[in-house]
Symmetry: C2
Subunit: 406 residues, 2 copies
Amino acid sequence: MLFVKTPEEVLAMIQAEFSPLERMETVSLSCAMGRILAQDIEAKEYVPDFDRSTVDGFAVRAADTFGCSDAIPAMLPLQGTVLMGEGAAFSLNPGQCAAVPTGGAVPEGADSVVMLEYTEDYGDGTIGICKSAAPGMNMIFRGDDVYPGKVILKKGRRLSDADIGALAAIGQVQVPVAKKLTVGVISTGDELVPPEVQPGAGQVRDVNSPMLEAMLTAFGCNVKNFGIVIDDEALLAEKVSSALSECDAVLLSGGSSVGVKDAACRIIESQGTLLLHGIAIKPGKPTILGKAGEKPIVGLPGHPVAAYFITKLFVQPLLGRLIGRDMPAYTVTARVTESISANHGRAQYHCCRLSKKDGQLYAQPIRGKSGLITTLAGADGYFCIDRDCEGLPQNAEIQVTITGGV
Amino acid sequence: MLFVKTPEEVLAMIQAEFSPLERMETVSLSCAMGRILAQDIEAKEYVPDFDRSTVDGFAVRAADTFGCSDAIPAMLPLQGTVLMGEGAAFSLNPGQCAAVPTGGAVPEGADSVVMLEYTEDYGDGTIGICKSAAPGMNMIFRGDDVYPGKVILKKGRRLSDADIGALAAIGQVQVPVAKKLTVGVISTGDELVPPEVQPGAGQVRDVNSPMLEAMLTAFGCNVKNFGIVIDDEALLAEKVSSALSECDAVLLSGGSSVGVKDAACRIIESQGTLLLHGIAIKPGKPTILGKAGEKPIVGLPGHPVAAYFITKLFVQPLLGRLIGRDMPAYTVTARVTESISANHGRAQYHCCRLSKKDGQLYAQPIRGKSGLITTLAGADGYFCIDRDCEGLPQNAEIQVTITGGV
């Protein structure tokens, strides 16, 4: 029995059927990039922890400088000099000033800093201030950037390079992140040989195993490759069972013939529950989704381009759900370079190459009669033609998801 | 002497002053993701290497089916059955058919495949074909996807997960890639302590070292962290010299005070040539660029947000130039949630958070009085206000470069 769902229904089903695993570990800051935060990160201290100058100059009480100018500088005795990396060992009395470097501590009693350019050193321990200061000028106050309790980064975020900087700033050198998922990959098909083997008559190389390994690794998973299994239901059942025992999720790919698809369904049903058989999408319709306990099993189409899209569009959101990862998705706007027909009652996905001309981005659909794999090679992104759309005219504006080259 | 350049001039200078290093190495397919191709990849064989069926069905000569229908099927004797992963051991004579699975080899003599759904097996060795076939129908011909000499991927491309699939398909399991660059990172400043150390009076944590390490690692470089050097010209010169001997490029960060900037310039001049002192950009103006032999030395601003932007906007293109990497850059279109002033005669960069509402993407500038680091934390991207622009009104359309969360 087939139950084909729309992409939206499949994504909703993923949210409903699977829950975050909530497994945390702590990694050092230098290993945290790209990991998923398992907790909100709250600052425990002030950044900066002292009032700082943002310029090279003289710390003053602003009131002592009001009305001064080049012609009538305020003459302030130099109370001391602040060194970088040290606190100000003195405080400022009314009518005094102190030399402060960029980033240096502003002494107590001062409320602003006048840039070096607007001062004159008379050499007798007196500094002439030639520009009046406003309170707070050229200063960062303690805690301006961060204060205890401020949430710096939120749970679920994939940590960027900039986030690593922010964590360093607050001294969060141990970072609570979601444990990596381990995903098992099994390729099925009597016709498959490993990529390093020269195919014999009627054979083709296994594209999906290395491609899925690359996709899942880039997504932040550990991948266990269970190799190629011939189309034998008992053997496949055994392999799925051992993959399930070692992994958090299992991807079966291939088995595009009717018999093998049925076998995959029976195996999923014997291990757990079959949730889905077919997605209204092109390419990628013959997709199976099930769960064994809480572990997802996905039966991907054998066609590499179909397996690619199903993994991008559904498997990654599913794995993101398990790991509690925020999944923002952005698209760039482009114009399609040629008309494309679509009339399948299914959302239709195309890979494309992008180029810029006169500030306008153009997307050239990558066509291929067979589309085995070269429609993926060198692709910069992909776009979707909606189920209800009969095609796109040349120059139509489309939204492209970037996938390559960057 | 200062020579401030515009961002465009700096990028042109990078192209003019530095050349690709052209250092190649070969890595296995499973390690090639994210690496930069050092050569065009040409296929050496046909994919597929045989005529394949795209459906489960019967291979026929199309001419034998012309005019057939449900009511008047063409009755064709079954010449044989093709098994997956094997060549067709027989060829088809006129008036015959052969059972072929999806992906199986189409026997010689056949020119099309009729789907199982449109056939009937009479059980006596005869198959009824109920739908006429057109030549080529439901078939992929040898070399349809790839043929010897076809360029699959071009030199300079950063390999994506999909590209890995394409390389697997043509059996390119050893991949020629550009050798990784080794980049040295030195932080300078008497006020800096490593992130794991609790800052004392007047001290702050070194944000730039871990942030730059994350940025450069993500960009595909090996990073050598030379730690924190106090503001001492002789010590710094020694450290720069040893970093130059071990690395392909050296980034100095910090030294925001005038004295240290001058020291950095003198060190670069003693080791090679000072190319640039200052970029007309905010934040990030106090940037230094030089070269020692062919090796770039960059003096980054000490302010983490400034160091971040200079690294994204100039250091990464510079490293990309050295490694021969294509650097496509895409932006998403968003509306700014609040008005922003700009009036500096410099291109002004802002970090932002992105959110979607009713299909429209909104960019909220992340403001911070000091902007030490929290303007970076949790940023989804950044946008630029042009040098000639006096600011943006609320809801203005902007182009955002995505940097985080995805």
